[in-house]
Amino acid sequence: MFRAIRHLSTVSAMRLADVVIIGGGPAGLTLASALKASRSTSQLKVELIEGGKLLEGLREFGNSPPEDITNRVVSLTPATVNYLEKIGVWDFIRYERIEEYDNILAYDGVTNSRIEFEHVGIATMCENLNLQSALLAKIEDLGESGCPLDIHDSTKVVGIDSAGNGWPVVELDNGERIQTRLLVGADGFNSPVRKFAGIESRGWSYNRWGIVATLNFKVDSFRQITGWQRFLPSGPIALLPLPNDMASLVWSTTPELANVLLKLSEEKFAAMINAAMKLDPEEMKYLYKLAEEDDNSLVDSISWRLSLFNNKLQPEQHELYPLEIESLVPGSRAKFPLKMSHADTYVGPRIALVGDAAHTTHPLAGQGLNMGQADVQSLVNCIETATERGLDIGSTLALEPYFSERWPINNAMLGVVDKLHKLFSTDFTPVVMARSFGLDVLNTVPFVKDFLVDRMSSK
């Protein structure tokens, strides 16, 4: 008898929604809160499905955040921050944990030519958790003021199907089924929504790994708050500023070197970062070898080489390099593969893709998350306009403008980042000379540089 009832309840547990968002990352949560914050779309029935455990961790972060900065940090462009302000999410950010800075100093590891970008608030460093927890706080705040939104975490999508009327039906691992007018894939690089829609994604792996970590600077002299980036033949290494004299590391390197670096003790790893920000690529090769053998002389060898390097600098030249790293925040090291990919389209009948589900990029320009935020902004505009016009928001007529607005911009950005990666990951002399000439010239021609800064901060 009980079995029969349970069986009935699973069969009849089909409910309707206007928008189902798969994925509770920054893109999915931003889309959810923007839809609920908009006058035109706040009455839509929106549900968000996330496979991992999400809500508890985000609420905990919101109530009592850890002392140390967590290791997944993103660089937000002014355009992204503006949008988060506009939809009322920025009010919920923990300001004491973000760092806004005005300078980026990039230099070539082979020739030492450099370029400096300066723009008030060129970027804001923010932990993923800080951003996501602010988004959740905003969503819960909107829920209290009459625009509720269902978020189901620890809930996996076991299947996506089409109903008789052509609407997608999302089947969850708890037996529930949701029939939705519009299904949005904010479900990352391997997007199941993209696969359901039969949308092809093309790209390649860079055969590089990104290593991230949170670091403490050794504060023994003055530096402006700056984002530092050095191009080494194995890939760029960047130290991006965080509050309390901390920094976020993004070190892109070959899979072999990544394995070596991840096996080192945290003390040796910190020393290797200091070496990589200053020493000659030839010296680095020798140090990588020591590191591979896990030689105990590694730390001493690096400090000896750095003291030689520092002694040669004129007093004013010290400010051309970042402060040295004192230590790692314990356990903050992690790695991820770097790839570039782009979906053939972002929309289909009752389907839209945003963020990594639509495109992935090399992190060297810190644009990945920001591109996703711009996608969300454009998609929300589209849904607002379509709602005001009484269109079916799942029809391609309603969704087309999102694709035609975002695809060309994203494609250009993916291309530029890809070329930059290829340009700087070589030590082939003619290319090195050309690029150094390029950097030096760029640095002295103000209007070209202004254009680049403008693109990066996309005001």
Partner: protein
């Protein structure tokens, strides 16, 4: 030049009574043309794409018209004093300081949204075809119900089948095989009566207009769109649209049936109960879509006419 809507028209108007069957507002030729289009009506990338795109402009035109003619401070019907204290200037704010103007505009917009939220408009869509406009209208929160009527059984079947796909439409949208003159005005009155891309397909447009405006509630609206009878419209809608670019199905238009904006305006001028409130031209740009123009006397145009007296 002969006016299509005047009594001296080259094709003499028959009186309402003489339309014995009531279904003669559209010629059999026109009807069979639309029947052929039925199956692809809802394919937004198919032969009716240009109509789907035009629908976006219709919706903008209606929403903007209704919103801009809302009375923000109705002193005659003030219910309580508290409301009177919140004075929202209804005048042009262009002369004010930017910050003040912005905040006044925002207050106005908020007030308009409030008023819209309270409305449940009853709409009649004459010549609804496959229901592109009827469906959009029915999805708006401030629309209570939409009835679409047409003379072609085939396209109505398409409209009904398509509406059944979307659960939100179930309670708000209905379709009927009916001529406008068959509707009894003592039983059915509407806030919005629409005739989009329709007058240029009927044989006796004045009769259709006359039948349609009977059904408008006092304070209600007539929205229509059709095409001026000029060289430009022949060139764009027939020569280019149907024959060169082939973005409009061949045989959709008959140039002699087009009606000038001026003719409709003059027709309404004779009726003191109605006022033409808005008139807007529009043009199709192949790479862009439909766009409003400043000249309603050339090519396609939209009109909004309000029933002002009781």
């Amino acid at each position: 030049m002969f006016s299509r809507l005047s009594v001296k028209s080259i094709r003499p108007l028959v009186s309402f009574r003489s339309l014995s069957s009531g279904l003669t507002s559209i010629s059999p030729v026109e009807q069979s043309h639309f029947n052929q289009l039925a199956s692809s009506w809802w394919d937004v990338n198919g032969p009716q794409r240009i109509l789907h795109k035009m629908n976006l402009l219709r919706m903008d035109f209606i929403t903007n018209t209704i919103k801009s003619h809302l009375v923000l401070n109705d002193y005659n019907n003030m219910v309580n004093v508290a409301e009177e204290e919140i004075y929202i200037p209804g005048f042009d704010v262009g002369l004010l300081d930017d910050a003040i103007a912005d905040s006044v505009l925002q207050d106005q917009e908020t007030r308009r949204q409030e008023l819209l939220r309270g409305m449940r408009l009853k709409c009649l869509d004459i010549g609804c075809g496959g229901g592109i406009f009827s469906e959009s209208m029915a999805r708006l929160p401030y629309v209570g119900s939409v009835k679409g009527i047409d003379l072609s059984e085939e396209v109505l079947a398409v409209a009904k089948n398509h509406a059944a796909l979307d659960p939100i439409l179930e309670k708000k949208l209905s379709y009927d095989l009916q001529a406008v003159e068959q509707i009894d005005e003592s039983l059915e009155q509407y806030d919005v009566v629409s005739m989009f891309e329709m007058l240029e397909h009927v044989d006796y447009p004045a009769e259709v207009l006359k039948s349609a405006i009977r059904l408008v509630k006092p304070g209600g609206w007539v929205f229509l769109s059709t095409i001026n009878r000029d060289f430009i419209s022949w060139f764009t809608t027939i020569a280019m649209g149907e024959y060169v670019l082939k973005i409009v199905p061949k045989g959709t238009h008959t140039h002699s049936k087009y009606i000038n904006e001026k003719e409709i305006e003059e027709w309404f001028d004779k009726n003191p109960e109605f006022e033409v409130k808005e008139s807007k031209g529009c043009v199709y740009l192949p790479a862009y879509g439909w766009k409003f123009t400043e000249n309603e006397h050339v090519g396609n145009y939209f009109m909004a006419i309000k029933r002002v007296t009781k």
